[in-house]
Amino acid sequence: MQTVPVKKRFPIAGMAERRSFTLLVSVFVALLEFCSCTRQVELSLKSRRPQLVIEAVVSNGTLGSYVKLSWSQPFAVQADYTDEANALVVLSDSTRGLKDTLSIFQGTDGHPYFRSRWIRPITGHVYHLKVQLDDKEYTARSVMPDTVTFQGITLLSEAGRLSESSVFTVVPKYVDQGGVRNYYRFEQYVNHKKDPGVSVMNDNVGDGLMNERPIFTKDIDIHLGDTLTVVMIQITQPVYQYFYQLSQNQEELGATPDNPVSNIEGGALGYFSAEDRQYFTAKISDDN
């Protein structure tokens, strides 16, 4: 594992888009905090019939290519989600003419999942998903996007003296591919715990240039001495749009929330993504 020295810079580096503004609103709301308060409330929400949730990925990540099936549940139910292990799941690479019927495995988190032995992500290849369950069929298609190298991260902090309470923000370093639409998703793990913030980027700004935009954590602050893992996932446009909607739903004062549009046919929730994952892990130190 590497150590990443800290640069004393302000956190809101780069083109922070919506988030910079949300942050600003938060600053203002913080100023008003003496007259605001938050409390838990009980709401009477209607119940919806459970729906199948499909998380299907063709990836070079640690789990390889996999499909996770579970059921949605009403808001009021506070138990863990119900997994689905009795489906027929087929992944295929139509460019290579390869088909794989996935078999079920028990995950380290205790949840079963379907894992592929043969399907691997190759740029430009077209992948298909088929899930059969109780006479219903769900299908999807995804084309593996181009990839660029994840070079590492820069850490930014507020100006001034660094201390244990200093909070850091990550700027992932990569050079975007010019002239091509690229979409990125990031996950951050602080001391091996995943931050729930959904973070996506496109290249509307800075096409073909080194990225200067930070990614923010939602719940977990990054401090000196923490071990940080950043996962850069290159995704397709429909999957970007899916996660962009999820990220908007996480905004406190954002737009009216709505369900993301799934690229899976047949009425399931979730997405099918052919994607490239690159990892960068470092311990944060104040060496310089």
Binding site: K7, F10, I12, A13, G14, M15, E17, R18, S20, F21, L24, V27, F28, L31, L32, C37, T38, R39, Q40, V41, E42, L43, L45, K46, S47, R48, P50, V53, E55, S70, W71, Q73, P74, F75, V77, Q78, A79, D80, Y81, L156, A159, E187, K194, N202, N204, L209, E212, Y244, Q248, N249, L253, G254, A255, T256, P257, D258, N259, P260, V261, L269
Partner: protein
Amino acid sequence: MAHRFALLVVFVFCMACAVSTQAQHAARIKISGTVRDRSSGELLGDVNVRYNHRRGTLSNSYGFFSLVAGESPVQVTISHVGYVDSILPALFTKDTVLEIALRPAALSQAALDSNAVSVYARNDQRYVASQMGISQVDLRQAAKLPVIFGERDVLKTLSLLPGVKQSADGNAGFYVRGSNTGQNLILLDEAPIYNASHLFGFFSTFNSDAIKDVTLIKGNADARFGGRLASVLDVHMKEGNNQELHLAGGIGLISSRLSLEGPVQKGRSSFLITGRRTYADLFLHLSKDKDVKSNSLYFYDLNTKANLALSPSTHLYFSGYLGADKLGLKDQFMIDWGNKVGTLRLNSILGDGLFSNTSFIFSDYHFNILLKSGNNRFHLNSVIRDMDFKQDFSWNSPVGSWHGGLVSIYHQFDPTHFSGGNDSADYTQYKALQRGWENAAYLSYNGKVAARFELSAGIRLSAYSLLGPGKFYKYAPESTAPVDSLSLSGGQIGKTYLNPEPRLALAWQLNKSASVKAAYSRNTQHLHLLSNSVSTNPTDQWIGDSYNIKPETADQLSLGYYRDLSGFRLEAETYYKWLGGQVDYRNGADLTTTGDVQSQLLYGKGRAYGLELYFKKTAGRLTGWVSYTLSRTENKIAGINGGEWYKARQDRPHDLSVVALYPLSARWEIAGDFMIATGNAVTFPEAKYRLNEQSFFYYAKRNDYRMPVYHRMDVNFTLKCRPHPHYEASWSFGLYNVYGRQNAYIIQFEADPDQPGKTTAKQTSLFRWVPSVTYNFKF
């Protein structure tokens, strides 16, 4: 009983009519002129000018009136709320232009305040105007009402009126009859204000010291006004005292105000300069922490006005407004936004009851976000800039009054885009400026068609043309990819939308104290406010009509009943509004970095209907009003909520406000308000699911749930300082949200990261028990 001595009349010049005209119309005498406040020289609008005990006319917002008497000699009587009724001490036998100075009902402001109520009651029986849906804000009363942080704010007072709703707790944004905030035409001395709020909507841009009068017209404005669907908020700045120099101000918890006014040429020309600035950041400077010290957080307003009498019948006015917000964090992050507006106006009395008002207007709204990190320096900004020319003629003929005119506006939009970078890379997004040319011509008539029947009819023809240069894309609702494009060269006129807008209002006087009115109006809106946020944001952007965006339209039908009882007034109005060309954004829209924001938009229609009841007590020691609105607002937009009708966020079926003012003694006065309203329509999740080892929420129909009921009571005490020969002063002590109701500002849904499937709903409330104290003075 009228007070002859109360009047100062200057016979400026008498115009002898042509002999032949005199011979033909010996009995017809035209009386015109202007009406001012005698002590300050301010022009007075809505002054009742009668002749020979007949109903005459009202002065317009520039203090101008004109009437034609069918008999000779003519005796003229003037009356106005808060002023002494006056009979002019002369009988007129030929056409005459008058400059009239009315004396306030009591000489000192202190005495005026204490007896304002009885004066108001005596003058309240105004003749029935056919226009409806009009609310005039009583600024003296508004000054005594409790407001958050003690910051007097006319926009917040509006939400206590029927049909008007505050956008959020403590917010100056407002919705009129179910429409959104971008559908209100906010005019400051005729210049449009594109963002009338400071500090994310918690304060309005209107400094109460600079404001002379405020009128809200809820969708039934006459043909002179156009360009927005829901309402016209017509704000006029004071002209400045043309008699003597005055200094006034106020010191509050959040901001301080100072205004200076006085004559340029005594009795003829005057100026006014008022300023307001918040000083939260000055406290930041007191901090020992360097980082805190270098933050900035303030807003300011600067209003200026000057008027110059070029001749007795020609006046030149200049009004200017400059306001800005600045929030900065240690020179690394800065956001500033603000309006710059200026109006140059020429008022001329052309004779024969003809009055001309020519205006040149400039309006500019911008926001800019600066982000600095290391060698990088980025901006996110947007600008909307207008240049307007307006020519309005009004003519008071023997059979009624006429308005006619032209409006031409050149709009320029700089769409929200990023710019900047570092020494080696440029991240600037090049988005083309967009240009539009808006034109309108109108003609309206207002007059009596029968003994008890008043009619107001008008037509406005509005046009909007897209101007080159530029490349324009067309989109289909199902995709964000363009389906077609075309190019325009510099100055070339592209798509033009032409919309006729008929307006009609009828009033029928049932008896001495009761009347019914009916009105229909069509309004068209060519500029559209894009906002994908639930709060008022300075980054919300305006966009004009295009090949994709068609004009928004509203057809409003309303019916009203009005009754004056002794010391009370009852108003009941119902309305139904059909809305077309409504603009919304797609789910998952990115309005900031997308190359062409039009690819993110969807279109549809809306409907709004309701009943508004207003019961006002105008006489006695206790005054105030009760206002209740029952309403519904819905939208139907292809691509949202499965194309089904859904409630608009601002749909609040029940809305009740109670306002009361009571003088406790000669010096103390208490004012309070209470309001209760249905919560906003909101979208809540009905299910949840797991993806990537975390919980996400599933939303059913849009805006199918409600925030909890909103209610609140505020109170304010005003203490007048002891009378002093050289100055007046008062203290204002307020408490916002007296019983500390935790009104829901937002409700968020959270998942427990350690217990899969466990979720909670959390409500955040702002503003419990906000006390305030303000000191006001006037020299």
